[in-house]
């Protein structure tokens, strides 16, 4: 019973898959699939072009397909898209001079945190040192 529902769901998913494109070469198909999943659909911004049913997404998929069939590299395809739509089209933005600070901020914060931790630990160590010094006889009363 559950099994048949599950199979039914799978069949429906296959039937309604947004992108039926099949490239002749499995390696090319894998690259095509990876690329279309990392390019943003500019109309429906939180979907990749692989998952979006809108017209522009299918045009961009056709563009990716044609470029791969013409022997272009993955980076050629990414550069082509970025030149037209900007970095925003990449779901995984690349490191550049403009966004370097964004990439480096976590590292800087980590260093600040580590510095603070070291300072606090050292202070605590000194407090413990002071604590275990034998009490001066004269202070006893």
């Amino acid at each position: 019973m559950f099994c048949s529902i599950w199979i039914g769901t799978l069949a429906a998913a296959a039937a309604y898959a947004v992108d039926p494109t099949m490239l002749p070469d499995p390696a090319l198909q894998a690259r095509y699939s990876a690329l279309t999943h990392e390019l943003r659909c500019m109309q429906c911004q939180n979907q990749s072009i692989a998952d979006s049913p809108v017209g522009l997404a299918s045009d961009l998929r056709a563009q990716v397909r044609d470029m791969l069939l013409a022997g272009k590299s993955d980076d050629d395809v990414r550069d082509f898209m970025v030149a037209r739509y900007g970095e925003f089209i990449l779901f995984r933005p690349r490191l550049s001079a403009r966004n370097a600070w964004l990439w480096l901020t976590p590292l800087v914060l980590l260093l600040i945190g580590a510095g603070a931790a070291v300072r606090i630990l050292r202070q605590r160590g000194r407090l413990v040192d002071q604590d275990i010094e034998p009490v001066d006889e004269s202070e006893r009363s």
Partner: protein, 173 residues
């Protein structure tokens, strides 16, 4: 005293950064085009009214022009149509229409019924030229300088306000 200064300063800095972000967010809702300041993408497209006439981007060099991306399927294009007629009447620059992924007969019927604001309408049936221009939603209006450089792009229906604020100053230096 000193103990509170650092967190307070940090908080003030964060507040300023966030305030700038919030203030700028309305304009950030449209994605900036990487084309601004770069040469307009080349094209060679058939004219809608005369299928035998091919218009090339190089034919348009020598004076500024406007490129308006539209389609009869686009609701906002209907909304901006009256404004486009005003733009045409102003005679400030030729208005080139890019009929994006549309049917020729429907496009012609639309122009006959609502009036034709365009000097030339180019047909981009497969959407390749629109991709070259980084178009992601009609209507979009580009301003291209006499030297063939894209100087401005407006996404969404053109309004009188946007026309007066962004286009006219760039057309009348």
């Amino acid at each position: 005293m000193n103990k509170f200064l650092l967190p307070l300063g940090g908080f003030a800095l964060l507040a300023i950064v966030l305030a700038i972000g919030v203030k700028r967010s309305p304009e950030k809702s449209t994605i900036p085009s990487p084309l601004i300041g770069r040469p307009a993408p080349a094209f060679a497209l058939a004219s809608l009214t005369d299928g035998n006439r091919i218009v090339r981007s190089s034919d348009l060099r020598g004076r500024p022009y406007l490129l308006n991306v539209w389609g009869t399927w686009c609701v906002q294009c209907r909304a901006e149509h009256a404004m486009l007629l005003e733009v045409q009447a102003s005679k400030l620059a030729p208005l080139i229409g890019l009929n994006w992924k549309d049917e020729d007969d429907q496009a012609l019927e639309w122009l006959a019924r609502l009036g034709n604001p365009y000097d030339t309408v180019l047909v981009d049936r497969d959407g390749r030229t629109a991709i070259d221009w980084g178009v992601y939603g009609a209507p979009e209006t580009f301003l291209v300088s006499a030297a063939g450089i894209v100087t401005y792009k407006h996404v969404g229906a053109l309004t009188r306000e946007v026309w007066a604020r962004e286009f006219i100053p760039r057309l009348k230096p």
